[in-house]
Symmetry: C2
Subunit: 237 residues, 2 copies
C-alpha cells in the first residue's frame, strides 16, 4: 500500500448490483479525465450477499445486516480507501452507527440529497423509497434538519413503488413507465414541489426512462459528491 495510501474511493455496493454498476458509470461520466490515470482509483465491493435490508429491518433482524455491512466497510477502510459511498438508501439506516466504528467518512447519501433540495428552496418532498427507508425515517430525520416536509405515498401507491423495485429492477427488467405514472399522479396531487428517488433501484429506473427534473435522484447526488471529494468534477456538467 505504502505510496498509494488512502488514494481510493470505496464503494460498498451490490444492493443491488445494477445500481452499483450504474453509480460507477455516473462517476466516470462526471470525471474530468483524458486518460486512465486521471480517473479516480476505486475499490468496489459489490457484496450481493448482504441480506435484504427492508426485510431485515422490518422484522427486527437489522443487527445481522449491520455486522455484515460493517465488515464490508472495514475491508474498504483497510484497502486504501479515503471515503466510502454506499449506493443503497435503505442501508443508510445503519450509516451513523457504522460511522462511529470507522476512521474514514461515509458520504451520507440521504443527507447530501436533502441538503441539495434545501439549497434549491424546496419545501415538500415526495419520498419514493422502499418500505424500509420510509418506515425507519432515514430521510425524515435529515429533512427535519433542513426544514423540509417529507410526504410518502398511501399504501396502494407505495405497493407500486415496491413492485418497480423488487418485481422489475431487481429481477433485471427495465420497469414500466405506466406504473410510474400512477406514482407521479399521486405525488403531484399531494402538492409536493419535488420528489426524491430514494432507492438506487429507482435510480436505475430513472436511467432507463429519463424522469423529469422534478425528481432528484439520490444516487446522482452521491455520484457528484464522490467526484467532488477527489477534486475531479468535470466542468459544464
Amino acid at each position: 500500500m505504502s505510496d498509494r495510501k488512502r488514494e481510493r474511493l470505496g464503494i460498498l455496493g451490490g444492493m443491488g448490483p445494477q445500481a452499483t454498476q450504474m453509480l460507477y458509470q455516473w462517476i466516470l461520466d462526471r470525471t474530468d479525465a483524458s486518460c486512465d490515470q486521471e480517473h479516480i482509483p476505486t475499490l468496489i465491493l459489490s457484496d450481493t450477499q448482504v441480506p435484504d435490508r427492508t426485510g431485515a429491518i422490518l422484522s427486527g433482524q437489522g443487527e445481522k445486516v449491520y455486522k455484515h455491512l460493517l465488515e464490508d466497510a472495514r475491508l474498504l477502510e483497510n484497502s486504501g480507501c479515503r471515503c466510502i459511498a454506499i449506493p443503497c438508501n435503505t442501508s443508510h439506516y445503519f450509516a451513523e452507527d457504522m460511522q462511529k466504528e470507522l476512521s474514514i467518512p461515509i458520504i451520507h447519501m440521504p443527507r447530501e440529497t436533502v441538503r441539495r433540495l434545501a439549497e434549491e428552496g424546496r419545501k415538500k418532498a415526495a419520498l419514493l423509497a422502499t418500505d424500509g427507508t420510509v418506515q425507519t425515517g432515514v430521510y425524515h430525520r435529515e429533512a427535519e434538519r433542513f426544514g423540509i416536509e417529507i410526504w410518502s405515498p398511501e399504501p396502494d401507491i407505495q405497493k407500486v413503488v415496491m413492485s418497480i423495485i423488487y418485481d422489475e429492477i431487481k429481477q433485471g427488467k427495465r420497469g414500466d413507465a405506466e406504473q410510474f405514472a400512477r406514482v407521479d399522479a399521486a405525488v403531484r396531487e399531494a402538492g409536493c414541489d419535488c420528489g426524491i428517488l430514494a432507492c438506487t433501484e429507482l435510480s436505475v429506473f430513472n436511467e432507463y426512462h429519463g424522469l423529469p427534473d422534478f425528481y432528484t435522484d439520490a444516487m446522482a447526488v452521491l455520484a457528484d459528491c464522490c467526484v467532488e471529494a477527489f477534486g475531479k468534477k468535470k466542468q459544464l456538467f
Copy 2:
C-alpha cells in the same frame, strides 16, 4: 471473512475504467438471477494508477507495471476472491509470471478467446490490439497452441487502431465508425476468417457501435468465463 471465504469474483481493472465498468455490466447481463443475492459477489479494483502498459513494455519499464499489478492481485487474493479477471489484454503479458505468485487462478483472457476461435474452426485471425499486445506476442503464443494464424495490421492501419483506443475511448469519446471501416477493409483484404477485439477499449467501441459477429470480443469471452466459473450462466444468452 470466515463464512464468506473465497466467495468472490475478483476484477483487476481500471485499464481503462470504462472497460472495467462495461465488463461488470456484461457479467450482470449474463447472470441468471432474480434478486440481489443470486448475483455473484464481486470485488472490483479499478486501479487507474497502473502506468500505461504499452508505454512501459515497449520502453523496457515493464517491471514497474508487473509489481503494481501483482500488488493489486494480492489485494484481491487476500480479500476473499476465488479467481481474478483482468479486463486489459495488454496486461496479460504479465499474467503467467503473476500466476506463479498467486494461489488463485487468473482467467486468461487471450487463451480463452483463442480457445473459442479454435472451437469455431477459425484458421486466420486479425489481431486488433495495442502496439504492446501485438509486439509482445501474447496472442501469437496462445494462437500457436491452437493452430491459428495471427495477422496484424500494417503500420498505417495499426495507427488507426491505436487512435481509436487512445484518442477516442480512453478520452471518454465514443469513437468513429468510419475509422473502424478502414481497419475492417484491411482485415477483409488480408483474407482473415475472423477478427479479435483484443483491447478492452475496442470492446467499449464494440458496445457503442455493435460490430458484426466476424469480430470476437475478448472481453465478452472473459465475461462468459467469469459467470461460468460461478455456475451462474443464464440460459438462452
